[in-house]
Amino acid sequence: MPETQHSPAIEVEGLVKEYEYHHKEPGLRGSLRSLLRRETLHKRAVDNISFQIQPGEVVGFLGPNGAGKTTTLKVLCALLYPTSGSVSVLGHVPSRREASYLRSIALVMGQKNMLWWDIPAMETLLLHKEMYRIPEREFRTTVDELSEMLEVGHLLRVQVRKLSLGERMKMELLAALVHAPDVLFLDEPTIGLDVVSQARVREFLKGLNAQQGTTILLTSHYMDDIEALCPRVMLIDMGRIGYDGPLASLVERTSPHKLVSAVYAEPVPRDELLNAIGSLPVQPTDDPLKVSLAVPRDQVAEVASRLLRAGRIADLSIEEPPVEEVIREVFGKAAGERGVS
């Protein structure tokens, strides 16, 4: 991709997307009234978002439902026409919907099927070969390569409806990638998959990024996806970007605590334990022999050794707080700030 080497793969500046919708009174009378006079309302799903993504980056969109992640993704994919702002992907303006642009991107949505249900996936692949004008030889090589990476070679000629959810998702990825896109957009790609399939899909995406240099932008509800795949995350809430940077520093910044837990082999004298805990906040646990403490980062070592000394220990662990919690905290704060302003 020589033309994108020095410029960002994706450039978004002041993007706004508003949806129009109509206010409808409940009941028959309301319906009749709205036939005559409809109140048009606007919902700002994306509110002045700007960011850049470099070629080869893997970026995760995080945010609650209705935050504007998927809307942003769909504007980039040329599915939605932006209300205002400028968007450029690989030097194209997506909303012009040029075939050359659409040929260089791919979209996979975990909740929707691109494969024809009643027939083998190979048929859909052949359709994509036609739609994307993939030369025969290139098509064969790509399909072989991808099906090997995804371990689905033996399933290409099986009817899609007979595949398991995990197999189907892998097949959807294969179908989306036969034309070797430069940018891949993923909307909840692992939704509903079992843990093993999730891990397999993540691994595949990682490999794809490493080998082909494919730029990947994904939204996911699963923190594990984001943690495993995305060195960079963007938090989106209420249509705005709340944070843009590495996941690790988000966790550090938002939550200056680590979680220190000790499981004792036998009940510990109350005084000993209280002494070890000091004034630190205790997290509720379901095990009477387990103590869990939120400890400021600089006191972790000291607290851990106090807990070790307090009684006969069976297990001691020091963890980052769950990312879900961090995210919740960020969004909670953001909402609070909005309330004040």
Binding site: Y19, A45, G66, T70, T71, K74, C77, A78, L79, L80, Y81, S95, R97, A99, S100, Y101, L102, R103, I105, A106, L107, M109, Q111, K112, M114, W116, D118, I119, E123, T124, L126, L127, E130, M131, Y132, R133, Q159, D187, E188
Partner: protein
Amino acid sequence: MLRYVRLWWRFAIMSLVREAEYRVSFAVSVLVGIISLAIAVLTYGVLYGYTEDVEGWSRAEVLMVLGCFRVAESLIELLVARNMWNIAEHIREGDMDYVLVRPVSSQFLASLRVVNPSEGVNALVGLGLVVYAGNMAGVEWSLERVAAALVFGICGLILLYSVWCLAVTFGFWFQSGPLESVLFWLIDTGRYPVTFFKGWVRLFLMFIFPVAFASTFPAQALRGEINPRLLLAGILMASLSLVGTNRFWNYGVRHYSSASS
């Protein structure tokens, strides 16, 4: 253009592969087609039991119209009907995403990707009726007549497609309307020669909802009445409507809201 033919061929193959899974429904749909045609033929039998000639159409000639109509209707069913029924729902449920993301005309994809192969049999049965009734009516099968009938028929199909497409495109703004189903019932008026209708209804069926181009006019051409001005009008209307619907569709796509998942 060639590319789109190849693409359509792929759709046809995929639909056939899928249909092979449901052989019973294939057979049922052919059977339903034949029965409904038989009922229509019998109805004419009753009508022409009382008279030899209705508005200048003999019984055999009216059956030719019915045959032409049957061919047109089956081809519409074969090529676009299932797609058109789906489009409104796809727009509403946000299922156009995977159509709009492809580097191919989204109108083409949305309106032609599902082929209904069982209707091919019905089209052949309709063609059989045209030939049978034509012979009964003493039609001379000259190249000129057949070609004119074909051009009328193709224009008629394009016009019907365009009207239907125009109606479903409104779905990008309004959450589906009864418009499409009204059109679907309107198409039935094509089984009668358009001269059976009077005044504005006739004009409506010739130029607004031009089903006459798909049934009456081809039959007239086979009968030897080739009106060059009408032929030209058909070609012009068909070309304009193709361009028009495509523009309108592409404009509608901007208003797609992709019912966020």
